[in-house]
Symmetry: C7
Subunit: 91 residues, 7 copies
């Protein structure tokens, strides 16, 4: 099965949990997740963030549940990188 | 025969399957396909995406059928990279 | 536990302590902190600065306390990078 | 004799053959041709493309004939790289 | 103690000493100072310059005194990089 | 004697010889000349081109004569790189 | 004594000597001078050029005299890089 190696999400989140807490929670989902989060817009009650996760194989459903559990929502999937089995073992 | 090593397509797709599912399906076509997909515009019922596939030798017909089978259409071929037999073995 | 490896803060500070003193104080918090601070706007009594800290594992609470103790405030967390346990040991 | 190692052409082509077919045909001219083609403008009946060929020694006449045989025309030669005999063996 | 490894200053200076003399004087402060100075604006009697000093450990007070002794003034500290003890020995 | 290692010329040329023929003729002047030519403007009877030649030691007079012999003229010398004897042997 | 390792000058020069002759004369001043000259503006009788010299240790007075002897004048010193004794031997 192909592996999702990178995903960039446009996330709408409340001010709390803050960017750091959200990123920490996601990085805690698996041992090799590298997470970066950049706040792109701030409104009165919410903020938009560009959330990027990289790993050998990201489990998207688990990721989505974690984001939702923090009170945030995935506004859109803006970019993905996927490698076939052979491509993955090559890296 | 020369090999298609990289292709960038402008794809028009319905919201479902989402970007991730479309990329996963394409990466599943062969063991060494590396797929990236970037959403470039979102309309009410469709979204445009820049889909890039890289591999040692991409089979375009299989790729087109997979895209069509997901309900998406290739709007245009925006860039290709092709290597002759000698150039390929050199890489 | 995932580690915070990079954080970029938008900081509002009085003119004194100056950028150098603030950065030195933060770098003194742990042996491996690398701190960079760039002044982005200067007003009559305050200045805004983009403060970036990188380390193997940044303790955010200690960082926030140090910033506050200098009379400055964290206006926003603009970017963070976090690595899961496995990702961290891989680096 | 100096060798043409890279050429970038502004090509005007009908929609068919498409970008992929045109690039494949050119890459088939010699074993080491690396071809990239980027569509730059699309009109009702034609499209403009930036066609780049790289190789140890490109035969321009053969290249022009292949392009013409596909129904396309070279609008202009936009860039060339040429190496003298010594320069070539140095690479 | 953390070390100041890079500092970028906005300096206001008279036309004399010129940019070269000012940079030479600063580089003479310690054996490993690397100094770059870029003139950013020229007025009738003064010019503004972006002065950057890099070293293993810059002594800011000595630097400021040298700048003042040349008739120039530090208009602002625009960027600093500081490394904790561990971070420094890692480099 | 210092060596001219790179020169960039603004050349005005008739449409014939074309960019390729002009570059080939110049690359034929010496064994190690690397020539690149980029067309920057096209008028009814002439075109402007940015011609760059790189080599261990370019003979400018021979270069100018070759350009003139093709019906083209050097509009300006836009950039040169020259290395002293020591600098050259260092490369 | 600190060494001037790079200097960028804004030079005003007559059309003759041309950019090449001026650069060659400067590169002839010492064995390791690397000189680049880029013409930035052309007027009826003069042209402006950005002249950059790099070397282990540039002698500015000799450089200025050579420029003046060619009928050109240094309009401004736009950037300098200087290394202290230790910094220099490190490179």
């Amino acid at each position: 099965m192909p592996a999702l190696t990178r995903i960039m999400l446009d996330v709408l989140k409340p001010h709390h949990p803050n960017a750091l807490d959200l990123a920490m929670a996601i990085a805690g989902l698996a041992k090799d997740y590298r997470v970066s989060l950049r706040v792109t817009a701030v409104d009165e009650k919410t903020e938009s963030a560009e959330l990027t996760v990289e790993a050998a194989a990201i489990e998207f459903e688990t990721l989505r549940e974690a984001i939702t559990a923090m009170g945030a929502t995935i506004h859109s999937i803006d970019a993905v990188e996927v490698a076939g089995d052979g491509g993955r073992s090559e890296d």
